[in-house]
């Protein structure tokens, strides 16, 4: 049932060998296809063996699942957007989707907007303490780790240390905080992210709480997830045992440490902005927006931006056509439209050709808004975002202060 926890490993020896922590996720995906519980699987694999170029793949043949075994830390494909743009929001297709917490949260926010059919999805979540920006990761391998990036076959983040594994089996370690001080390490949005265990998915899988590299800790987070795990065990695809109390506590402790670190990053990234006067804030952000070349990249990458007929298109008559930088209303409308549902996936900033820190702004506003409305995006499909539920009357209630004077 929901909430059950297991220490699991693949029953298949090949998968056990190829998988990262006991090959559990690979086994579950294979089982989902073989047992015809899903029509296809969405996972990520390295394009032509290049682990800095992870691409999402749609797999229908069980034997091909093995190609996606192992984690790719230096890529963060836009899984939610993939579902809406290319798979019609899973309207007619049953899918098992491997997700990081931000992917799962974006999918849930889109389900609330009827863009994704959650009933057709089995979300297999992976614990995540952050991904690395691919180009910078390659530079980091060369400059800091002093290795050929192509020699790297694995990355791991544990206890604030980034460990890489090379083809010859050797390992190299660097302090993550030190790397991040030098401008390397994780994507900036990931550093600020507090959600490490994907409890909003159907199943949360990860190495926290395990004692060796041959097992995965599983938590079933929905009835659907619990039933699936039960049938995978009954079907002989994975073997499970009950985790010890020490295991469960260790997982909790690691999660808590990662949350603390994220909060420190939030304080660091937000404090400068919060200290600014209103005038300083305006001039700071207007200077940032002044770099915009109106490529629409942030809008097109944002999983929450789903309108087919966008208000910001030139032919809608709202933003002056052919003007660069566009009027400040261009970024502000985007921010206002998505800030209540921002899941801090960082896709907007990844694609921004001008390096406008748009993800920082939207996430900061989202945090302020979450405090006011007690709404956490992407955590519960039954809770609708504040912009959908707050009425004009509520906004006018006396004694309710909804100003953003933080």
């Amino acid at each position: 049932m929901k909430g059950d926890m297991y220490i699991a490993r693949a029953a298949d020896k090949d998968i056990l060998k190829r998988g990262e922590n006991g090959g559990v996720v690979t086994s579950l995906l294979k089982f989902a296809l073989e047992s015809k519980r899903v029509d296809a699987v969405v996972a990520v694999k390295a394009r032509e063996g290049n682990r800095y170029d992870g691409i999402p793949v749609l797999i229908t043949e069980p034997e091909k699942v093995l190609e996606t075994a192992g984690s790719l830390h230096s890529s963060s494909p836009n899984i939610a957007r993939l579902l809406t743009e290319y798979l019609d929001g899973a309207s007619n297709l049953k899918l098992a989707v491997v997700v990081k917490p931000c992917d799962a949260r974006a999918i849930i926010e889109l389900a609330k907007r009827t863009q994704i059919n959650l009933d057709n999805l089995l979300l297999i979540g992976l614990n995540c303490t952050g991904t690395l920006p691919s180009v910078k990761a390659k530079t980091m391998m060369k400059e800091i780790f002093e290795v050929d990036p192509a020699e790297v076959v694995g990355e791991d983040i544990e206890d604030n240390v980034l460990t890489i594994t090379l083809k010859d089996g050797s390992e190299k370690k660097e302090d993550l905080a030190k790397l991040e001080e030098q401008g390397y390490g994780r994507r900036e949005n990931c550093r600020r992210c507090e959600i490490n265990i994907p409890v909003m998915a159907d199943i949360a899988c990860g190495k926290w709480g395990t004692t060796n590299k041959e097992t995965t800790f599983i938590e079933t987070c929905s009835e659907k997830g619990a039933q699936f795990i039960q049938s995978a065990v009954d079907g002989g695809c994975i073997t499970v045992e009950e985790p010890s109390t020490a295991s469960i506590n260790d997982r909790k402790k690691k999660d808590q440490a990662a949350i603390e670190l994220a909060k420190q990053w939030q304080d660091k990234d937000f404090s400068g902005l919060e200290k600014m006067s209103t005038e300083e804030r305006f001039s700071h952000w207007f200077a940032q927006f002044g770099q915009c070349i109106k490529c629409y990249g942030c809008r097109d990458a944002c999983p929450i931006c789903y309108c087919k007929d966008c208000f910001l298109e030139a032919d809608r008559g709202y933003i002056t056509p052919g003007e660069i930088p566009p009027d400040v209303m261009f970024p502000m409308v985007r921010v206002a439209h998505v800030m209540d549902s921002c899941v801090n996936c960082g896709q907007c900033e990844d694609v921004c050709t001008m390096d406008v820190p748009i993800s920082l702004l939207v996430f900061l506003l989202n945090k302020k808004m979450s405090d006011i409305f007690k709404y956490e995006p992407g955590m519960d499909v039954t809770k609708l975002p504040p912009l959908r539920t707050t009425t004009d009357q509520e906004l006018k209630l006396t004694g309710v202060d909804i100003s953003f004077d933080f």
Binding site: E313, A314, D315, G322
Partner: protein, 98 residues
């Protein structure tokens, strides 16, 4: 530009020439006035966009809008060795169309 991409057409559908504000003042030119640009090779009509993005004495026009083909003005001669065309820059005269 072919004008066959609706998204781009809705951004900018017509050509223009960028004129520095000092030159515009001297010529008695207002934003969006129609001007004639002429060289010994040909002439085009287009609308003026007054901006300090270009310095005084310099005009800038794109050459891909069908309504104001900048290459009607430029010199198609090639550099003998490199075969690079002189279609990027030339001296031109601007007159405000009354």
């Amino acid at each position: 530009m072919s004008l066959r991409t609706p998204k781009l057409v809705s951004e900018i559908a017509q050509g223009f020439v960028e004129v520095n504000s000092k030159d515009a003042l001297q010529a008695g030119l207002k934003n969006k006035d129609v001007v004639t640009l002429a060289t010994r090779r040909g002439s085009i009509e287009t609308r003026a966009k007054i901006t300090d993005n270009v310095p005084p004495g310099l005009l800038f026009a794109a050459f891909h809008f069908p309504d104001s083909r900048g290459n009607a003005l430029t010199n198609p001669a090639l550099v003998p060795g490199a075969k690079c065309a002189g279609t990027k820059v030339c001296a031109a005269r601007m007159e405000v169309k009354q």
